[in-house]
Symmetry: C2
Subunit: 261 residues, 2 copies
């Protein structure tokens, strides 16, 4: 099967203009078919401040009222997405920027939670890879902003980690998928205070043991649970590490590589 | 040759939520291959007011400093583009929203004008239809926001009428292109104060005569000059009229239809 890299970058890269530029050069040089999924970083929060739209975060999720939805759509699908695409084009990477709404890539529904109204936060229902597949086959690299829709005309704000995972799962029938999460740490850490303590390789039985012995940093647990779900669903390999070590992450020479077996 | 509709909507449709919804239903029902190009309307100006970014318009063009560029990128390529795409999807029209930056569709340069610095306003250098063609062949409808780039990483703000015209010209070798400008008038008017006085059909010799006799409203002259340039470059037919008469405009039963001969 053809290799497909699905790479997610978060706020720590997006908020730092110089780091983003360096990352884009590295990303452009990867010879494989690839999809980049980006979050929004602090830019949405900063714009909300300027516009006096109060923001509320619950466990890292942004409560998304109508004004905030407009704002994240502008910042994620507009400013950040097109800035990244223009920089990729400047590095001879023929990129196309999309949201989950385009080509009905990601259908979602407004989160149902009796205890808390998340507003226009979207939980994923299904992924249609036809548009992405058409573009990859034609030689394009795709950049996805995590704005989705309910297929009835309502835009929704979906977590970028989730978008990356769902897209990776959807492609796993047709490609040998390597999902890479670029984040602020070296990888999965044994000691949360020691950035040198990252585990090089983790499989499910090892993970269960480390979790039972409470060796893994608690904040990593939800990310890892999701990773193993994606692996069970057919994704071949998942890596976590620093954005500027992208090439090494692809090769498995940096960060943590997670496989099922 | 296959028919291709290239339809441009302006601020008067985009600023009116109900009119936009009605237009989208009509647009979705058109059976031909189609591309929608949208301007930005007053939404960018309103957001600029809220953010205290002073705006300056010169002959209908927005002087685009760095802050304004960010703003129009957010509003055009983010909010408006994705709102339109979501509504098209809700009407079973499989739309993909792009900017001129994506797939390097439109390469432009920062406007050179010794008398006035337009800032990040982009004048078109070239159009690459490969991405658009790939999507049309795969059955998608494309929605384009008039944000372009200089191919060196700089986003630019390009007039949407110009984008529509340049895309129409670029497709004219491969398709029977009908370019439709939806605007606030019934068509090309003989008497600017009488919306019933629109000309049904106009060709180049008739236009020259009407212009010489000063029968055509002066404000229409630049639009018509551009229209005849596009026809000379291979576009088959150009129509001007009201957005909510879209079906009739396609059939030539409303508005003004312009052909060379």
């Amino acid at each position: 099967m053809d290799k497909l890299l699905i790479i997610k970058i978060g706020g720590n890269v997006i908020d730092d203009e110089e780091e983003l530029k360096k990352f884009i050069v590295k990303f452009s040089l990867l010879p494989q078919k690839k999809i980049l999924i980006h979050g929004g970083g602090k830019r949405a929060t900063k714009l909300a401040e300027k516009l006096n739209i109060p923001q509320q975060m619950v466990e890292g999720r942004r409560i998304t009222d109508a004004e905030t939805l407009k704002l994240v759509t502008m910042v994620y699908a507009g400013e950040i997405n097109k800035t990244i695409v223009a920089q990729l084009q400047a590095n001879d990477c023929n990129a196309v920027g999309l949201s989950g709404t385009d080509g009905n890539i990601i259908a979602a529904h407004k989160r149902i939670n009796p205890a808390l109204d998340y507003g226009f936060v979207g939980d994923v229902d299904s992924v249609q890879i036809f548009l992405l597949q058409t573009l990859l086959v034609a030689g394009f690299t795709v950049v996805i902003a995590p704005i989705t829709h309910n297929t009835k005309g309502q835009l929704l704000n979906t977590n970028a980690d989730t978008v990356a995972q769902e897209v990776a799962k959807a492609f796993s029938k047709d490609y040998d998928v390597h999902l890479i999460y670029c984040f602020e740490k070296e990888g999965v850490l044994i000691d949360v205070n020691d950035n040198q303590s990252s585990i090089q390789h983790l499989n499910f039985s090892e993970y269960k043991r480390l979790k039972q012995e409470k060796i893994i940093y608690a904040g990593m647990i939800p990310k890892l649970e999701n990773a193993f779900k994606a692996l069970t669903a057919g994704v071949n390999k998942i890596s976590l590490g620093k954005a500027l070590q992208l090439e090494e992450l692809v090769l498995g020479n940096a960060g943590t590589t997670i496989t099922y077996e």
